[in-house]
């Protein structure tokens, strides 16, 4: 553990992390560190183990082996403190559509035990940042997917987290919205000193914003470097080409998860 680096410089330390689902090894002996204030891209093809790793890092899944330190806290020893230290925007939407934007924020604030007065101010501040303050009393079900994402980001920041996890935050959004969302995030990284840990399939996004990149494939870390370092290493001129050079060009078949089944079921009910 000693060679993982200085406590002050690394906000995330993952060592020998492993997750097995019966015989299948989803995440295989993964170690990496994330420096404080970094914008860290966690890349890999579908089914590489990205989401499983994030689920373990955010206390939603217990690792089979290995350890995680978040902001100096071991989540397995002090789960609540670890949970307070990060905010998360999940890959799938996670807002209550039947509540208003404000109520969703309020709900989060109460769960994170933010005092009432602070809560009020913080909600206003954040909803103004993501330009949803005028829509605060609208039910989320009438929001567009871009608005929902902005709300989720605002919500994830409510409790002043030190780390913000973003699992494919711009999936399915138009270029304008993606651009807008990244400008918020870069700004937050600068002004609030939040470490950003994100996954994406849009390589140009990662190339644009990331200060560090880790590529994972078949549950194993392939490389950790800066975007320019990666391109230099693979003698390519874009991150996308570097990524393909490192992970190959075959398409990965991912087994549909529970959520996908549910979604299919719902679509059928709707008809």
């Amino acid at each position: 553990m000693d060679n993982l680096g200085d406590k002050n410089s690394n906000i995330i330390e993952v060592s020998r992390l492993t997750k097995k689902f019966r015989d299948f090894v989803a995440v295989d002996n993964v170690s990496f560190t994330v420096g404080r204030g970094e914008i860290f891209a966690f890349l890999g093809p579908n089914g590489a183990g990205k989401t499983t790793t994030i689920r373990m890092m955010t206390t939603l899944l217990t690792p089979s082996k290995g350890g995680i330190i978040l902001n100096g806290i071991n989540p397995q020893e002090n789960q609540d403190a670890a949970r307070k230290s990060f905010g998360i925007v999940f890959q799938d939407p996670s807002i209550d559509e039947e509540l208003t934007a404000y109520e969703n924020m309020e709900f989060h604030g109460v769960l994170y035990k933010i005092p009432k007065e602070v809560r009020k101010k913080r909600i206003e501040e954040l909803l103004k940042i993501v330009e949803l303050w005028e829509r605060k009393d609208n039910l989320v079900k009438i929001f567009s997917s871009g608005m929902r994402r902005r709300l989720e980001i605002a919500r994830g920041l409510m409790h002043h987290p030190k780390i913000l996890f973003l699992d494919e935050p711009t999936l399915g959004l138009d270029p304008q919205t993606r651009n807008l969302i990244w400008s918020y995030i870069k700004n937050l990284n600068k002004t609030e000193q939040i470490t950003i840990f994100f996954t994406t399939h849009y390589m140009e996004e990662a190339e644009d914003v990331a200060t560090q990149i880790v590529i994972i494939d078949h549950g194993k870390i392939i490389v950790q470097a800066t975007p320019s370092g990666l391109m230099a290493k693979t003698h390519t001129e874009t991150l996308e080409k570097a990524f393909l050079a490192l992970t190959g060009t075959t398409i990965r078949e991912e087994e549909a998860g529970v959520i996908d089944h549910l979604r299919m079921g719902r679509r059928m009910h709707k008809r």
Binding site: E98, L111, Y112, I259, L262, G265
Partner: protein, 273 residues
């Protein structure tokens, strides 16, 4: 005696911290409860839709079986069946409220609560209380409707006790719904639960017919059906007719609640999203 002073001071501080934790836990439970209520009141179609079935039961059974019931010397059937119909609508509503967790899982909202720095027990309690409150309200609405169908509570004094029974039934079956939803991965199994669990619970509970003089096997089944005690408690507080007796109803319902809440909490604590 400075030492004992210190220890009592420490003891008081300890108590204060405990109270604080409880109060903070209350906030979490309250907001989860409030969420269920808001969702309920915002879905008017759901409220109206869920009133159709009890209304049909009251009209078709109440008026259809009324004459036969009377001729058999059992008195007014509306008086008899209304508590059963109230219990039915509470049963359906509570199980549905509990099972809503599946939707929350689908829409991802469950993750938001599971990743927050609160215990699963608080989440489970908040949800269950919310669901139970909604189901109780539903029961009260059905009671009001039944007044239009000619039902008359036999004693106003016993009404608060009737509300208590409504809440106990709600609590028990919301916990059951939560337990089921914690195990079910999707809505595919929902029909199975409705037809092989909820419907039998209802039909064999004595909601529609008196439990006395039944074939032995049906009688045995009815006596292990927790809803039987709920129906009987409601019937004795609303219509003054009882089979088991109020005390037994209360005790058995409470035991059922403790068991199902424990099972529900355990299964809910095992959910992975």
């Amino acid at each position: 005696m400075p030492r004992s002073e210190i220890s009592t001071a420490a003891g008081q501080q300890h108590k204060l911290i405990l109270v604080e934790i409880l109060l903070r836990g209350m906030d979490v439970i309250y907001i989860l409860w409030l969420r269920q209520l808001k969702r309920y009141f915002r879905s008017r179609t759901r409220i109206i839709g869920s009133l159709g079935q009890p209304l049909l039961f009251l009209l078709a059974l109440g008026f259809g079986f009324g004459p036969i019931f009377q001729r058999a010397g059992q008195g007014n059937y509306i008086q008899f069946v209304t508590p059963g119909v109230i219990a039915m609508s509470i049963l359906f509503m509570s199980v549905l409220s509990g099972i809503e967790i599946i939707w929350d899982r689908q829409f991802g909202f469950l993750k938001e609560t599971l990743v927050a720095p609160v215990s699963r027990l608080e989440i489970m309690f908040g949800r269950t209380l919310g669901g139970a409150t909604v189901a109780t309200l539903q029961g009260i609405i059905v009671l009001l409707i039944s007044l239009l169908a000619g039902f008359r509570p036999y004693s106003l004094m016993a009404l608060p006790l009737a509300f208590l029974f409504m809440f106990l039934i709600s609590l028990l079956f919301t916990a059951l719904g939560t337990a089921i939803a914690s195990v079910l991965k999707d809505m595919q199994g929902f029909q199975l639960i409705m037809n092989f669990m909820v419907m039998p619970l209802f039909f064999l509970s004595g909601a529609l017919f008196p439990l006395s003089g039944l074939p032995k096997i049906i009688g045995v089944i009815a006596s292990i059906d927790p809803l039987s005690y709920g129906v009987d408690g409601l019937r004795s507080t609303l219509s003054g007719i009882t089979h088991f007796g109020l005390g037994i109803d209360l005790v058995f319902l409470s035991i059922g609640i403790v068991i199902l809440l424990s099972i529900g909490s355990f299964l809910f604590s095992k959910i992975e999203v």
